[in-house]
């Protein structure tokens, strides 16, 4: 079924490939003949700040801006960045978090600026949505052959969780991934995508 609008949010830190991930998703959605719009952070993105990208697609989409509380999915490449943009999530939003921590420099400024434990971050996110999943994306990517393919692991999980979670055809997603990653990494990314899919299938039953 083609959605009227599907809202997806990618968040992370400059340099993590947030925008590239969004680019892969938008091209895949395009291959599925959707109307698509994105809004992206650029300019300061390589300066280690928070980066976010908004993707909207469907049959009835005009603006790149989605209403807060109405994201269908949020993909976070860094745990506290999920908290920073949690206002876009609602009770059913899929919140997929890579557990790879990048402490911001402000943690060194004063004692109060501590990086919260993952368990606290998880329970915070669970206050907002019942669909919070933490993923060892880096470990999985290393196993697949390259830590840099953590993004593809996350995409594989989205796809593995089924078309309710991400209404984009798996074939289109893979086609798009291979379009945007360097040729010499195609093999690694194929493996990463498959291992993500397997993981996604294994947790899809927990999606409420």
């Amino acid at each position: 079924m083609r959605p009227r609008d599907f809202n997806l949010l990618c968040v992370g830190v400059g340099g993590q490939g947030v925008i590239r991930t969004l680019q892969i998703l938008i091209w895949a959605a395009f291959l599925d003949n959707h109307t698509v719009r994105t809004g992206e952070t650029h300019g300061m993105a390589q300066r280690g700040g928070s980066v976010e990208g908004y993707l909207r697609f469907g049959t009835d989409v005009h603006s790149p801006l989605m209403p807060r509380g109405y994201a269908h999915a949020m993909v976070a490449f860094e745990p506290i960045e999920a908290i920073r943009r949690v206002e876009f999530a609602g009770p059913k939003t899929l919140i997929l978090v890579s557990d790879h921590i990048i402490p911001p420099p402000s943690v060194y400024e004063k004692k109060e600026n501590t990086y919260p434990p993952l368990s606290i971050i998880r329970s915070g996110l669970e206050k907002v949505s019942k669909n919070v999943f933490f993923i060892k994306a880096h470990k999985m990517a290393e196993k697949a052959g390259n830590a840099r393919s953590a993004n593809v692991i996350m995409l594989g999980i989205l796809s593995g969780m089924g078309s309710k979670v991400l209404p984009i055809k798996r074939k289109s997603l893979l086609k798009s991934i291979l379009r945007y990653v360097p040729k010499k990494t195609h093999k690694v990314n194929n493996i990463a995508f498959q291992s993500g899919i397997e993981k996604g299938i294994s947790i899809r039953g927990d999606f409420k």
């Binding site: 300019g43 400024e109 990086y115 907002v128």
Partner: protein
């Protein structure tokens, strides 16, 4: 449903031949807003383009330059030294009857305004479009000025697109329009348009290949009052003519509805991204779809002059009008004035800024709430528990290995050593981030070039008490710093200009500038050196220092000398931007040296973290030792000189 989408095949290599550089009329794809604009410029047959980088406009000219390589068109493109020069370079193209474009961010038009305001009188010969990329919410800017006002101010038409596709089509049309009415067109975009992707269908590339012709009519092109007085009259007539055709403007549209909702007929007005958001909201409440509309909507594609006839039709059709515009109340005021002229201001309710925020970009849920309330339909706002987890802030910061950090760190050390506080007037660039912790270097900053101007002023009042320092980047120095320096020499002001020369226009993505020795089109060109400029401006040679920013001991020594000296001084602290240096390493196959921390020597004093603050240095709270995040480290080796315990070292075993 299968549409006949001709998408790009997988085998096309994006890097080699971007599909949007070639004709490919009718081909569908996805383009980034700025790419769509560049494609529109190519389709319009533009032959000349100039500008200065500025987020969110920076990628337009480089994209066009890249595309030009794959077409047979000869397009003259350059990074100009600043927006004013860029405007003039491009305008000379229009004067010579070729289609030309000047590209800048919103505040760039302030710099170009002197030329813009009078060129508006003279109008266009070859189609002339000025792109102004505005930045509501100040994602990457010092203010959020609404440049639609510049159109009202200069009496030139303002176009505003609402999607990448429309941006492409509209800018192509803008050149035709400019030539038809002999007017400059101001093409106003906002960040969400420039920095967002969307569906696109490519149009035909017009190959004009006009031969540039100089126009010898000096009564038209020289700005003496005897010429410009009659031109002002013609300017007003031109605008009047455009206004009389504005209801036929292809990007304006009016949908009328006679349906009453709870006894009232509602109308909405919007332009740009706000229009796109309005469409989503109306669709959310099922008030509008392709085949029906329960409310009246005026879409504005030309913000100046406004389509009075369409506005009148709308006003006479509705009981309640909501003007949905981001930032300033331009349409709102126009509607209120028109309602007054029509004598219906008592009959119709017109709402604008008392409902729609005047600050920042208009967000979807805010508009959902406002419109829901107006039409009596509830928008179920999702309530988010506030502050569910306290998290540390993550501001943008100077990169690992950034040469600016080294200069600021050295400056702080000198201040401590000579027991003086400096007035540090900073400027616009990556180095503005030096004002954040832990460096906190930078006390004032207004706009491009303001560091030297302000330092001139402060030095007149208090250089006895505080050394007055201007901190300015290489590109900013060339942009608007030089006049301030000449001013200091001429007026004998006592100040030190530190040029933070990372040989790049870094904050906007590392574009070239006069100091890099490379042009927009990748040509090797004469490198303009800051120290030579300083010398030419009359700074005495003994008051000019040039120093590698990554040699900390020498940098501190030279800084101290420069600060203690008298008169106008210039210190060039030079080291290429670390992002670019990494790319250079990669291209040359150089493996950067591996830097490590010896845990035996590290005493956990955290000077490297709390005073220096390189993001590649991580403090392990458990072991109370510093370590290096090798993924982030760019091997500048400066931490070796920062650490008093000499705990950092080059691991030569690797």
């Amino acid at each position: 449903m299968k549409s006949n989408v001709k998408s790009e095949s997988e085998s096309d290599n994006l890097k080699d031949i971007p599909y949007f550089s070639q004709d490919n009329t009718g081909k569908k794809g996805i383009l980034f807003g700025n790419e769509a604009i560049a494609r529109g410029l190519l389709e319009a047959g533009v032959q000349m383009g100039a500008g200065y980088p500025g987020t969110p406009s920076s990628d337009i000219l480089p994209t066009l330059a890249e595309m030009a390589k794959y077409t047979e068109s000869d397009i003259q493109l350059e990074w100009s030294v600043n927006e004013k020069v860029g405007f003039e370079v491009a305008y000379a193209g229009s004067m010579s009857n070729v289609r030309s474009v000047a590209v800048m961010k919103h505040v760039g038009l302030n710099v170009a305004a002197d030329s813009f305001m009078t060129a508006a009188y003279m109008g266009a010969r070859g189609g002339f479009v000025v792109i102004s990329a505005d930045d509501p919410s100040q994602y990457s800017s010092q203010n959020e000025q609404d440049n639609r006002y510049y159109g009202l101010h200069a009496l030139v038409p303002v176009f505003e697109p609402s999607s990448p596709q429309e941006a492409k089509d509209m800018i192509k049309y803008a050149f035709q329009f400019s030539e038809e009415y002999k007017t400059i067109v101001l093409f106003r975009t906002t960040t969400r348009l420039n920095h967002g992707r969307g569906n696109i269908s490519l149009g035909e590339i017009e190959k004009l290949d006009r031969r540039p012709e100089f126009d010898w009519d000096r009564t038209h092109w020289v700005c003496v009052p005897s010429n410009t007085r009659p031109q002002r009259k013609r300017l007003l007539e031109r605008l009047e003519k455009i206004e009389s055709h504005a209801d036929k403007f292809p990007f304006n549209s009016l949908r009328l509805s006679n349906i009453k909702i709870k006894g009232k007929k509602y109308g909405f007005v919007a332009s740009g991204i706000a229009y796109a958001t309005l469409m989503d909201v109306l669709s959310h409440f099922e008030l509008m779809a392709d085949d029906f509309t329960d409310v009246s909507v005026l879409k504005i594609g030309m913000a100046n002059p406004l389509p009075k006839k369409l506005m009148k039709k709308l006003l006479l059709n509705v009981d309640y009008l909501l003007v949905v515009e981001e930032l300033e109340p331009i349409y709102e005021q126009a509607f209120k004035m028109l309602a007054f002229e029509l004598g219906i201001s008592k009959k119709i309710e017109i709402h604008g800024k008392e409902k729609i925020p005047q600050i920042g970009e208009l967000s979807a849920e805010v508009l959902l709430e406002i419109i829901g309330e107006i039409i009596g339909k509830e928008f179920k706002k999702v309530k988010i528990p506030q502050n569910i987890v306290k998290i540390p802030t993550r501001f943008p910061q100077l990169c690992p290995g950034c040469s600016h950090r080294h200069t600021f760190y050295a400056l702080n050390n000198v201040a401590k050593k000579i027991k003086k506080k400096f007035i540090n007037c900073t400027d616009i660039g990556c180095y503005t981030l030096g004002q954040y912790k832990p460096l906190e270097v930078g006390d004032t900053g207004i706009c491009m070039g303001s560091s030297i101007g302000l330092a001139n002023g402060f030095s007149k009042l208090m250089s006895d008490e505080y050394p007055v320092i201007a901190l300015i980047g290489d590109s900013t120095f060339f942009h608007t710093g030089v006049p301030g320096l000449i001013n200091a020499v001429y007026n004998q002001n006592d100040l030190l200009v530190i040029v933070l020369d990372n040989s790049s226009t870094a904050m906007t993505g590392g574009q070239d500038n006069p100091g890099t020795g490379k042009s927009l089109t990748g040509k090797e060109v004469t490198r303009v050196l800051v120290e030579n400029v300083a010398k030419g401006c009359g700074v005495p040679p003994e008051n000019i220092w040039v120093q590698d920013s990554n040699n900390l001991p020498e940098l501190e020594e030279k800084l101290e000398e420069a600060i203690k000296a008298q008169g106008v001084r210039v210190l060039v602290s030079r080291h290429v931007c670390s992002l670019i240096e990494m790319r250079q390493f990669r291209a040359k196959g150089i493996t950067p040296a591996l830097i490590k921390v010896d845990p035996e020597k590290c005493i956990g004093c955290q000077i490297c973290i709390k005073k220096f603050g390189c993001p590649a240095i991580i403090f392990d709270f458990e072991t109370q030792k510093a370590r290096i995040d090798q993924i982030q480290c760019r091997s500048c080796k400066v931490c070796i000189d920062v650490c008093p315990q000499k705990a950092f070292y080059i691991d030569s075993n690797n």
